[in-house]
Amino acid sequence: MSPLPKTGGARVLIIGATSAIARETAQVYAASGARLFLTGRNGGRLASVRDDLLVRGAAQVETAELEVTQIASHRSVVDAAVGSLGGLDIALIAHGTLPDQTRCQEEVSATLDAIQINFTATVALLTLLANYFEAQRRGCIAVIGSVAGDRGRQSNYVYGAAKGGLDRFLQGLRNRLYRSGVAVVTIKPGLVETPMTSGMPKTPLFASARRVGRSIERAIENRRNVVYIPWYWRPVMAVIRWVPESIFKRLQL
């Protein structure tokens, strides 16, 4: 297994780079002189993030507008990233939406959109990236999942199902790519203070995007398998998974 290049000078592709968590991770890479390829839906926002990362020390920042549900465009974006950075050491998939559960129950299209963005599009990207990294026989693929994927709950099971499905997909991918020396990191943040959760009442369980973003960089550096961020979500979710279904179905979670 060949070692991953140190963060300094690393070539990093970030999908969903205008998300609050991804920007924090990108800042860590930028400060170490990394070269970055960023995708996002909004060109103006991408340019703001690019300029910020260049000031913070990134050696190179390229951007491409990408709507992840436009699956036909994935290949050209991955090719552009590989081409402009001269290869990839790390891919971080950070896009996602938190759907309104009630709306998903009322409208089939809302449910399918949430699955499309949070699961199908991610799986499509991972299929391309897995083949690239497998052929190169080194590197790291990191994906932002969620603690919500660890167990289905009435208040959030469409999002949970997408993230849970992703969790299984990544398990299998990790198993497959192990022999090629490619790390697959599943990142499971808990509640994070980001625009995605701005409508939720804030509790002490919320972590800052900065803390989560920095932990992601460390998890990638250490080639972890599954990380909960912050760490206390691991025992919390262990307890939640352990509750028997006959009891769990009665809970108001």
């Binding site: 103006g44 926002r45 703001s48 993030v49 910020d52 000031v55 625009p195 009442p201 804030k202």
Partner: protein, 434 residues
């Protein structure tokens, strides 16, 4: 839900809503709102200048991105919500420093401009606004106006020190200054009264930074005793990160009685006596020199539920008598003051129409809020300041009268003509009330 209050936690304010502003390139529509708006970042203004009771706040803490930095000229362009801590952690390792820093690094660039803040180098560098080369202002009409000392000058001068009332500053460009390293060579001198302070401050021009702390509970022949601090940038690396967290944080609002006359008397006296020798020289980190209280997170909670008021004023030169009078009033009252900060402002003119610093001596004291008696003492202090052709600092204020505001800020009417009709604040409504 995050609470939106000022640093002094007085007065309380209820806002109709908080609109997060996260991207400067997105369309920002303010004209549809029925209520007035006011930009808010980290709530480090002490009184009500960052509050908009009954109106809305524009939370700009998400506008925290750098835009451009020229390492050869030191010109930095960044969004309004970037903290001074972020700027320092970027700039110091590259040999640059902010031209002016206040007593905390947790303020935003937009707030530093809107309050035209000053620091320990006012006698040399003037205010923060004097180093701003241009900024972009979003008006409620949707117009984005580039303002600088050459373009849209009137709006520029109104926005420097304009308390966020002329529109939303989206980004600004400023000139940083070269430093030889991250260390500060400093000297601390114990002095026994205001006359000694006046004498020491005549040597100010020999140092980049000067400030004094005084024991404001000492009376009689001890009146105005304190420690004079002065220093310059020095070579050497920094061992701490500017983005690091506070070492300790006050976890919760403490009972109001904890900060009382007895504890502050002991604290004031101890602070003065902590230094045995008359003169002490050392070279150390810049953070404790500039931001001594940033080591304690949320120290404002020490004052309890009722909060506190900071009183900062400036009195015209040759007015040591007025400073003595102010200190005497404080010492004779039964109020609970913290240490007082004293500094002589220089003659560099602020570009801002509503800027507070002007030549003379500035005095700042925190008071635990105890209701009517606290407010009555501060009103008496206002009279002394008015008689000494001085002014009270809006960034710290929660209570000065409309009449005194107009006396202290004679350009307020030309300023008012530049205020965006959609923007307002609790402070502005108070000081412009008929």
């Amino acid at each position: 839900m995050q609470t939106y209050q000022s640093w002094g936690r007085y007065p309380p304010a209820a806002h109709t809503r908080v609109l997060p502003i996260r991207w400067r390139t997105d369309p920002i529509r303010l004209s549809d709102l029925s209520e007035s708006v006011l930009p808010f970042a980290y709530g480090r203004s002490y009184g009500d200048s960052c509050l908009n009771n009954g109106g809305a706040l524009l939370d700009v803490s998400g506008l925290g991105r750098f835009i451009a930095f020229d390492e050869s000229t030191g010109v930095l362009r960044c969004e309004t919500g970037v903290t001074l801590a972020e700027v320092l952690s970027l700039a110091v390792p590259r040999g640059w420093f902010l031209p002016v820093v206040p007593g905390t690094k947790w303020v935003s660039i937009g707030g530093a401009i809107a309050n035209d803040i000053h620091g320990k180098n006012h006698h040399r560098a003037g205010t923060f606004g004097a180093h701003v080369t241009c900024l972009e202002l979003l008006r409620s009409t949707g117009e984005r106006i580039l303002c600088s000392p050459e373009r849209n000058v009137e709006l520029f001068r109104a926005t420097i020190g304009g308390l966020g009332l002329t529109g939303l500053i989206l980004w600004a460009e400023l000139r940083l200054k070269r430093i030889p390293g991250a260390q500060i060579a400093m000297e601390r001198i114990r002095f026994s009264g205001l006359r000694d302070f006046a004498q020491l401050s005549t040597e100010d021009q020999e140092f980049e930074y000067t400030v004094a702390w005084i024991d404001c509970l000492a009376r009689g022949r001890r009146l105005g005793r304190g420690l004079f601090l002065r220093g310059d940038h020095a070579p050497g690396p920094s061992r701490t990160s500017s983005r690091g967290k506070s070492r300790i944080t006050i976890p919760a609002t403490l009972p109001s009685g904890l900060v009382n006359r007895a504890t502050t008397t002991v604290f004031n006296g101890l602070y003065y006596r902590a230094q045995v020798r008359t003169r002490q020289r050392k070279t150390g980190e810049y953070e404790p020199f500039f931001f001594p209280l940033d080591g304690i997170g949320a120290w404002n909670r020490l004052y309890g539920r009722r909060g506190f008021l900071q009183y900062q004023c400036v009195t015209a030169n040759e007015s040591e008598g007025a400073v003595a009078e102010l200190l005497d009033q404080v010492a004779r009252s039964s109020e609970i003051p913290s240490l007082a900060v004293l500094k002589r402002f220089g003659t560099v003119r602020s570009p801002g129409l509503l800027s507070f610093p002007r030549p003379g001596i500035t005095l700042a004291i925190d008071f635990a809020m105890r209701g009517a008696t606290t407010l009555a003492l501060l009103d008496r202090l206002d009279q002394v300041v008015a008689a000494a052709q001085g002014a009270v600092y809006p960034a710290k204020d929660a209570r000065m009268s409309a009449a005194n505001f107009r006396r202290f800020f004679p350009h307020w009417q030309s300023f008012a003509s530049q205020v965006d009709p959609k923007f307002s604040s609790s402070f502005w409504r108070r000081v412009t009330a008929a």
